[in-house]
Amino acid sequence: MGKSEVKGTVTSLSSMFPAEEVQKAAKMVEEKLSEKQNEMNQLKEFIANNTSLINLVQKLPDELHHDIMVPFGKAAFFPGRLIHTNEFLVLLGESYYTERTAKQTVEILKRRGKSLESKVDALKAVMQDLKAEASFFDSTASEAAEGLVEIREYEEDNSTERASQSGSLELETPSVAEADNKMGASEDDEYARIMSRLEELEKEELAAEDNEENLEDEDEDANAVESDGNEDELTKAAEGDGDEDELTKAAFHRKKDECYSYLDHGQRYSESQSRKQLQQFNGKEPIEEMSNKYKHQDLTKQFASTGLTEEPVTKGEISHGQIIQQDTQTLSPSINAFAPFEKKSVQTSKSEFDSSKAFTGSIVEHTQNLDKSSVGTNMTSLQSSGSQPWKPVSRFKMQRK
């Protein structure tokens, strides 16, 4: 198992939402709620008064006079009568009064009632929001008390690649989907760049298809792409034998098979996942697969071709493997991993080895590694960090078997 360097954070809900603060927030919300409730009661009282007044105003014009007790101040009454029973003086506000008949007064009061009711409805909506807030706070408080823990996982390019190789099933988490979604936008740009670059390489391959003489280049290329066991084959073949073409072809075939078998592996693992996670890339998947196979062949040809520097080949190899991984796992990490390789178009071999290190584990053959003690030294001389990638490669090999 490769180290799953899935960086993650485990935060307990209680740290994110301290229990005390949640309780305080809940209290505040409850207070607000009670305030709103008081306002609501007041408004309802107004509405009740309004309706009773409407009834009274409608009844008064029935008689010419009404005998009543007329208040005189707050503590005294005079016996008297109500006169002009159809004339009402209504306060409109701001010390403006108007004399109206009973019917008109009723209309005024009805309009007032409507505005009051709309206020009540608005207040109800506010209260509902407050209630939802309060329930949320209560639930978080209880959760924090229970000690729930929130786990977030972030993907890194290296880790996802290895993880994809080892077991794509493991990383079937929402975080992966999140990572995909996050990298979706950047992926598109990078993917476009990658596709264009690959197309250029293909063209070069086609142009140099006939040139299969530069075995040294192949060897160097093979050395550079250490993650592929074919490298060893090729270098071995190149150094040991003169039948470069045959050996290279065999290497290509083997490599192809390995790649394809790995592809099958990946597909088996990720069929279910890819549906979910690679929904964004539905259109791209078939293209990628086709491009994978096509490029695989092209790259193998590249191996035999001349005049190609190490970088593009390794990149092609790596991109190929990465693209495979894309099919298996997620597109984003491989693309991201590939993009920087493109950028390193003119760099030392060490950079290549680093990239190849990132790509480790895709294709390895134990026998080649063992036999290549001599070659390995050469390779290590070329690759300062060459020794390290072997381990993960072998580990992966073990897993596969």
Binding site: N49, I68, V70, K74, A76, E87, L89
Partner: protein
């Protein structure tokens, strides 16, 4: 020792905040109510005196039906007046009787106000006492330390 003092200080403060201050607020509110009643009755008295002066027999007023909707009302005979004597009773008075009643009522109200004023004063005094106690508790250790330094 300091911890004990701290506890005592805390207790005193709590006593002040929880019992004395609310009591003070309550007493002041009651007194204000009585002030209002006093004002009502003094207004009534003034009105009745006015009526007597001008020999007003009938009256036209606007009666508030509720929610500031007014209706005209006529008082044909102003000689009789019904005054609220408390406990939901209204007694029919003539003007002079009404004035007498009002003066009696005023006296009663004044006495009530005096009582409340005394209560408020005592509460305020208690609060001051507790504050002094707290100050003593806090100052004594300071003084000691000061003396220590002097030595």
């Amino acid at each position: 020792m300091d911890s004990l003092r701290q506890e005592k200080v805390q207790k005193f403060e709590e006593f002040v905040d929880r019992r004395l201050k609310p009591d003070l607020v309550h007493a002041i509110a009651e007194r204000d109510k009585i002030f209002d009643q006093q004002k009502i009755f003094s207004d009534l008295r003034k009105n009745i005196e006015n009526l007597e002066k001008n020999s007003v027999t009938s009256l036209r007023t606007l009666v508030n039906l509720g929610s500031e909707v007014y209706m005209q009302a006529e008082v044909p005979d102003t000689q009789r007046i019904f005054v609220d004597v408390g406990l939901g009773f209204h007694v029919e008075f003539t003007w002079s009787e009404a004035l007498k009643f009002i003066s009696l009522r005023k006296e009663k109200l004044e006495r009530q106000i005096e009582e409340y004023t005394r209560l408020i004063a005592s509460i305020k005094a208690q609060i001051k006492l507790v504050c002094e106690g707290i100050r003593e508790l806090l100052q004594i250790p300071e003084e000691k330390t000061v003396e220590g330094r002097v030595f």
